[in-house]
C-alpha cells in the first residue's frame, strides 16, 4: 500500500471532533512559539526541539488511540506530551526546569514523562526508544491486555541499528505497536536523500514483512485516518505497522540550529508553509461551515490564555530543593 | 698533576673537622695557597689551603660535613687528567646553627621503667630533610605511646617505620611536656665535654654557694599563713617557687644534657627531693613556674605523702627539668647535692639559722640560709650558674620581685 491517504471533505456530523483537533493544533503551535521565545530569553536551557509545522502528525495520530495505550517518543515531544494528557503547565514548568515540571525539573525538554497517562517519555538517544515502545507492547501482549503502543520517531532514526532490531522483533513476535515515522525530511542538517539508500521510509517495512503506509503529514485528518487503521491492526490483529507521515518542520532541528541556510533554502521553507496544517484545517472547516470567524477568534484567544497561564505557572514554580539532587537515583 | 685535598689537622688536638663552607666550586681554577674552604676545628674556624695548582675537579665533602683528619675532601688536577673515582667523605650534619624549635612531644605518659637512665639509643639514620617516614598506623601508635618517631629505626622500605618497629621500641628516654629547643654541640663544646668527663667522672659537677637573708621571706610567710585560707606555706615551697621563677629568666639552667646535644626547655618542671624510708625519690611539680605558691604548697605536700607511701606513678617522678633538695629540716646548713641526670642543675637548700651579720655598718642578728647549686659543667658554666643563683637570692630577699 503506497498511495498517500487523503481526506477531502469533512463530515458535518463531526464538528465537535474537528474543533477538538483544531484546538489542539492551535494550542501546540502557540505553546511552541512561546517556548521558543522563552528559550531565546534564557528561561529554557539546554536543548529545545520545536514541533512547529508538524502538528498534524501528533494530533492526528494521538486522537486515534485510547488513553490507556502507551505513547513513546523521542525528544521533539512537547506536542505529544500535551495531547496525551500531560498538562501544558507541567510541560512548561519542566522546560523551565522547575519543581512542578512533569519530571520534577530533572528531565527537561527531552525527558517529559506522564506515567499516569501512559506517556512514557521523552528519550534523547536517536532510535533508542523504539525498543522501549516495543517492550511496552510486549508487556501488553504478555498480560493479554488489548492495550497497544505507539512510537514516534524521525526519519533519520530509521538508519540506526535499534530501528532494525526493533522492527524485526515486533514483526517476529506480532507485537501490538504502531511505528509512526515523522518524516520531516531533515536530520539536523542532513537531508534524507543524503542519509538513506532508500528514500521511502515505509518501504523498509517489507524487510520485516510488516504492514506499511504513508500519509500526508500536513493533513491532520489524513493522519488520523491512517493511524486509526494501524491502531485497529495492532489492537485486533496484534500486528505492527510502519506508518510514514510526510511532514515539515519550520524551525531548526533545535533552537540552537539554523532554520535554513546551508542545508535548505528559505524558498523551500516558504513553499512548505503554504501547506500549513492549521491553515488547511481552518479552510476545510470554514468551507464546510463548521466554524465561524468568531469561534476561531475565541479559540485562538483561549489558547493564548492557556499558554500564557502555563508560562506564568512555570515562572512561579520554584527550583527543585537542593536535596532533589540525590532523590530517585534508585527506587526504594 | 693530581693533588688530593685533605682534611688537615689545623690544631694539635684536632681529630675531626667540620667543613663549614667551600669557597671554591668544582671547576674553579686554583693555585697553591688559595683558600679552598673554611673549616671548624676543635678550637676555632680555620682556612683550608690548596696545596697544589690546577682545577678543583671534585669536592668530596659537602658544606656542613664533618670528616676525620686525613680524609680526602677534594681533588685538584689538570682539566683533562684522569682522576680517581672516590666516594664522598663524611656524613652531612644538620645546620650548625640552633635547630628550629620543635613542638612538644604529645606525650600522654611515658612508658614503663623510666627510673633507669635512658638506655643507649639504637642506630637511627638522620631523617633527610627532617621528615620521618612512617606508616599511618605506626605514627598513631607512637603518638599514643609518647614515642618520638625520630628515635625509632624503621625496617620498612626506605627506612619506613612500621608497626613492629614501634612495638619493639621501649620508650627509652623520659619525656617532659612543653616546648623545647635542641642545640647541636659545637666543636668547642664537644672538646670541653670530653675533657671534663675524662677528668671528673660521669657528670662534671661544680658548686656555687650563696647565703640568703631570709628576714623578709620569713615575714611574708608568717603573714600568708596568718591569712588562714589555704594550705600552710613552708620555706621550701617558697624556695621552689622562686627557683621556678628564676629558671624562666635563666633558661640556660633549665636544660637536659642529652648525648650530642643540650635540650633547653620552655617549661619548668621542678623535681623535689623527698626522703623515703630506704632512699630518695624526686616527684615532679609540673609547670612549677606557672603555679601559684599555694598550688605548689598543696602539690608538694600531696606528692611527698604519696612518695612516702610508695604510691607515685612513673609519670609523677620523671620529666623534671631542674631539682631542689632540702635538708634544712635536718639542721644541715650547707651541703652539695648530686645532679639528677639528664637534668643539668640542682639547688641544695640548707636550714635557716640566725647569724650575726653586718648590715649598714651595724651588727644584727638575722635569719640566714645557704643555697648551694650543683651544675653540670657541660651545660652550665660558672657565670651562668652564678647569675641564676643571684636572681634566686634577689627574689628570696625581696619577695615582691616574684610578682614584678
Amino acid at each position: 500500500m503506497s498511495e498517500p491517504v487523503f481526506v477531502e471533505k469533512l463530515d458535518p456530523g463531526r464538528g465537535e471532533f474537528y474543533h477538538k483537533l483544531l484546538n489542539q493544533m492551535l494550542l501546540v503551535r502557540r505553546f511552541e512559539e512561546r517556548a521558543g521565545e522563552a528559550y531565546a530569553l534564557g528561561k529554557i536551557g539546554g536543548f529545545c526541539h520545536l514541533y512547529i509545522g508538524q502538528e498534524a502528525v501528533a494530533i492526528g495520530a494521538l486522537n486515534a488511540i485510547r488513553p490507556d495505550d502507551f505513547v513513546v517518543t523521542a525528544y521533539r515531544e512537547h506536542a505529544h506530551a500535551i495531547v496525551h494528557g500531560v498538562s501544558s503547565r507541567a510541560v512548561m514548568a519542566e522546560l523551565f526546569g522547575r519543581r512542578d515540571g512533569c519530571s520534577g525539573g530533572k528531565g527537561g525538554s527531552m525527558h517529559l514523562f506522564g506515567v499516569e497517562r501512559n506517556f512514557l517519555g521523552g528519550h534523547g538517544i536517536v532510535g533508542a526508544h523504539l525498543p522501549l515502545a516495543a517492550g511496552a507492547a510486549f508487556a501488553a501482549k504478555y498480560r493479554k491486555s488489548d492495550q497497544i503502543a505507539i512510537c514516534f520517531f524521525g526519519e533519520a532514526a530509521v538508519n540506526i541499528g535499534a530501528f532494525h532490531e526493533t522492527l524485526n522483533m515486533a514483526a517476529l513476535w506480532d507485537l501490538p505497536i504502531v511505528f509512526v515515522c515523522e518524516n520531516n525530511r531533515y536530520g539536523m542538517g542532513t537531508a534524507l536523500e543524503r542519509a538513506a539508500a532508500v528514500w521511502d521510509v515505509y518501504r523498509r517495512a517489507c524487510s520485516y514483512d510488516m504492514a506499511e503506509e504513508t500519509v500526508d503529514g500536513m493533513d491532520v485528518l489524513a493522519v488520523h485516518e491512517a493511524t486509526l487503521s494501524a491502531v485497529r491492526r495492532a489492537r485486533e490483529e496484534q500486528l505492527p505497522t510502519l506508518l510514514e507521515a510526510r511532514t515539515y518542520r519550520y524551525m531548526g532541528h533545535s533552537m540552537a540550529d539554523p532554520i535554513h541556510g546551508h542545508y535548505r533554502t528559505k524558498e523551500e521553507l516558504e513553499e512548505q508553509k503554504l501547506k500549513d496544517p492549521i491553515t488547511r484545517l481552518v479552510h476545510q472547516m470554514r468551507d464546510g461551515g463548521l466554524i465561524t470567524d468568531d469561534e476561531l477568534e475565541t479559540m485562538r484567544a483561549t489558547v493564548d490564555e492557556e499558554v500564557a497561564d502555563a508560562l506564568d505557572f512555570a515562572e512561579q514554580s520554584p527550583d527543585p530543593e537542593p536535596a532533589a539532587l540525590y532523590t530517585d537515583v534508585y527506587h526504594d | 698533576m693530581v693533588t688530593k685535598v685533605l682534611m688537615e689537622a689545623l690544631s694539635p688536638t684536632m681529630e675531626e673537622g667540620k667543613l663549614l663552607t667551600w669557597l671554591k666550586q668544582e671547576g674553579d681554577e686554583v693555585t697553591a695557597g688559595d683558600v679552598l674552604a673554611e673549616v671548624e676545628t676543635d678550637k676555632a674556624v680555620m682556612e683550608l689551603q690548596a696545596r697544589g695548582a690546577g682545577v678543583l675537579r671534585r669536592i668530596l665533602a659537602a658544606d656542613g660535613a664533618t670528616v676525620a683528619v686525613g680524609s680526602i675532601v677534594g681533588i685538584i688536577a689538570d682539566p683533562d687528567e684522569e682522576i680517581p673515582d672516590l666516594p664522598t667523605a663524611g656524613a652531612p650534619k644538620e645546620k650548625p646553627a640552633a635547630a628550629p624549635k620543635q613542638p612538644a612531644e604529645p606525650a600522654a605518659a611515658p612508658d614503663a621503667a623510666p627510673t633507669s637512665p635512658p638506655s643507649p639509643q639504637p642506630e637511627v639514620p638522620a631523617p633527610a630533610g627532617g621528615r620521618v617516614k612512617a606508616s599511618p598506623l605506626a605514627r598513631r601508635m607512637a603518638s599514643e605511646r609518647g614515642l618520638d618517631l625520630s628515635r625509632v629505626a624503621g625496617s620498612g622500605p626506605g627506612g619506613r617505620i612500621v608497626k613492629r618497629d614501634v612495638e619493639g621500641t621501649e620508650a627509652a628516654a623520659p619525656t617532659a611536656a612543653g616546648a623545647y629547643e635542641d642545640v647541636e654541640l659545637s666543636q668547642l663544646r664537644k672538646t670541653i665535654a670530653k675533657r671534663l668527663v675524662q677528668s671528673l667522672g660521669p657528670i662534671p659537677h661544680f658548686f656555687l654557694t650563696t647565703e640568703i637573708d631570709m628576714e623578709r621571706a620569713a615575714d611574708a610567710r608568717e603573714a600568708l599563713n596568718a591569712l588562714g585560707d589555704g594550705p600552710k606555706i613552708s620555706f621550701n615551697d617558697i624556695v621552689m617557687k622562686v627557683v621556678a621563677a628564676a629558671l624562666r629568666q635563666h633558661r640556660a639552667c633549665n636544660a637536659w644534657w642529652l648525648d650530642g646535644k643540650i635540650r633547653y626547655f620552655e617549661d619548668v618542671h621542678l623535681s623535689m627531693a623527698v626522703a623515703i624510708p630506704d632512699g630518695l625519690i624526686t616527684p615532679v611539680i609540673r609547670h612549677a613556674d606557672r603555679k601559684s605558691l599555694r598550688e605548689i604548697a598543696t602539690e608538694a605536700r600531696q606528692l611527698a605523702e604519696r612518695a612516702r607511701e610508695r604510691k607515685l606513678t612513673p609519670e609523677e617522678y620523671t620529666g623534671g627539668t631542674f631539682s631542689v633538695s632540702n635538708l634544712g629540716m635536718f639542721d644541715i646548713e650547707h651541703f652539695t647535692a648530686v645532679i639528677n641526670p639528664p637534668e643539668a642543675g640542682i639547688v641544695a637548700v640548707g636550714s635557716i639559722v640566725e647569724r650575726p651579720v653586718v648590715a649598714d655598718g651595724e651588727l644584727e642578728v638575722r635569719k640566714r640560709m645557704r643555697l648551694t647549686m650543683s651544675c653540670d659543667h657541660r651545660v652550665i658554666d660558672g657565670a651562668t650558674g652564678a647569675q641564676f643563683l643571684q636572681t634566686v637570692k634577689r627574689m628570696l630577699e625581696n619577695p615582691l620581685a616574684l610578682v614584678w
Binding site: 517492550g135 510486549f138 504478555y142 530517585d328 | -
Partner: protein
C-alpha cells in the same frame, strides 16, 4: 545440605522467582529451546512456556531495550546476555535507558530489570570474549552491580536482584558455572550491598569478588602454612552498592590490605576500594594497599600467556609479603 553447581543454583533461583511472580520472564539468545548457552536456563521453557521464556534474534540492543520498556510498564524481565562482552552493543539501553529512567522522570518510573550473564575470562577465548566489565557498570548511578562467587551466593543474590525494583547488572562467570557448593533447600535470599567474610584472619585483608575469591582462599591457605600469616578473605559479593563498612572493619583489624581482582588495573574496582580505605582507614594502615589485577593487555589466545595475565595465588602471596614486610 545439598551440594549443587553454581549453574544449578542460578537455575533454581530463576525457577523459584518465576513461580513466585508471574511478571518475571526470561529473555535472551538461546535461553529457551537450546536450554541456555551455558545451560543456566535448562528446563525453564518446558516449565513456563514460550510466553515467559523468550528466545531472541541476535539483537542485544533491541531485546535489552524491549526488556527495559516492559519493565517500565511493570513487568520484571531477566535479560540474559550470552556473555557480557556482547552487552557492549546494548550498553546504551542499560545505561541511558535503564539506569537513568527513574531519575530523569522525577521518580515517576522505575525499571525492575535484571541483566545477567557470564563475564570475565574463561579459557583461551581470546581478546573479544574475555573482558571483565564490573567497572563499566559500577560507575553508573542508578545501577546495582552484583558478582557472586559461590553457588550459595549466586542463588540468594539472583533472587534478591529479581525482586529489586532497580536495574541490576548480575555478573556470573563461565569458569564458575561448574563449581560446587552447599546451598540449603528452602527459601532464602541474600541482601545486595553486603560483603561476606569467607575466611577470618588477623594479619591481612584480601578483598576479592567472583573468580578471585577462590584465588584468595588458596593464597590464604598457603600463607598460613608457608609464612605464618593469617589472611582474612573478604568477598565483596556486591560491587555497587559497595559494603564499605565491612571493608573498614576488616582493614582496621588487620592493618593491611591486598585487593585481588580479575579486571584491568586502570580505574578498576580495586581503585575504588583503595580510595575508600585510604580515606576512611588511613590511620589503620601499616602499609600501602596493593592490588593484584589482570595484566593490562587484551587477552592473548596462547594458554601460557593467558595464564600469565590472570591473578593467581603466587601473585597474591607476593603482594601479601610486601605489605607484611616479610621480604
Amino acid at each position: 545440605m545439598p551440594t549443587i553447581t553454581y549453574r544449578d543454583a542460578l537455575n533454581e533461583a530463576l525457577r523459584e522467582e518465576m513461580e513466585r511472580d508471574p511478571d518475571v520472564f526470561l529473555m535472551g539468545e538461546e535461553v529457551g529451546v537450546y536450554q541456555g548457552a551455558y545451560k543456566v536456563s535448562r528446563g525453564l521453557l518446558e516449565t513456563f512456556g514460550e510466553r515467559r521464556v523468550v528466545d531472541t534474534p541476535i539483537s542485544e540492543l533491541g531485546f535489552a531495550g524491549i526488556g527495559v520498556g516492559a519493565a517500565m510498564v511493570g513487568l520484571r524481565p531477566v535479560i540474559e546476555f550470552m556473555t557480557w562482552n556482547f552487552a557492549l552493543l546494548a550498553i546504551d539501553q542499560v545505561v541511558n535507558s535503564a539506569a537513568k529512567m527513574c531519575y530523569m522522570s522525577g521518580g515517576q518510573l522505575h525499571v525492575p530489570i535484571v541483566f545477567r550473564g557470564p563475564g570475565g575470562a574463561a579459557l583461551q577465548l581470546a581478546a573479544q570474549h574475555s573482558q571483565a566489565f564490573e567497572s563499566w557498570y559500577a560507575h553508573i548511578p542508578g545501577l546495582k552491580v552484583v558478582a557472586p562467587a559461590t553457588p550459595y551466593d549466586a542463588k540468594g543474590l539472583l533472587k534478591t536482584a529479581i525482586r529489586d525494583d532497580n536495574p541490576v547488572v548480575f555478573l556470573e562467570g563461565e569458569m564458575l558455572y561448574n563449581t560446587k557448593g552447599e546451598v540449603p533447600e528452602g527459601e532464602f535470599t541474600i541482601p545486595l550491598g553486603e560483603a561476606d567474610v569467607k575466611r577470618e584472619g588477623t594479619d591481612v585483608t584480601l578483598v576479592c569478588h567472583s573468580k578471585t575469591v577462590a584465588t584468595a582462599l588458596k593464597a590464604a591457605d598457603r600463607l598460613a602454612d608457608e609464612a605464618g600469616v593469617s589472611a582474612e578473605v573478604l568477598d565483596l559479593r556486591s560491587i555497587r552498592p559497595l559494603d564499605v563498612d565491612a571493608i573498614m572493619r576488616s582493614v582496621t583489624k588487620t592493618n593491611r590490605c591486598v585487593i585481588v581482582e580479575e579486571g584491568w588495573p586502570f580505574c578498576g574496582i580495586g581503585a575504588q576500594v583503595v580510595d575508600e580505605i585510604q580515606r576512611e582507614a588511613f590511620d589503620a594502615l601499616d602499609a600501602p594497599v596493593l592490588r593484584v589485577t589482570g595484566e593490562d593487555v587484551p587477552m592473548p589466545y596462547n594458554k601460557n600467556l593467558e595464564r600469565a595475565t590472570k591473578p593467581n595465588p603466587d601473585k597474591v602471596i607476593a603482594a601479601v609479603r610486601r605489605v607484611a614486610y616479610l621480604d
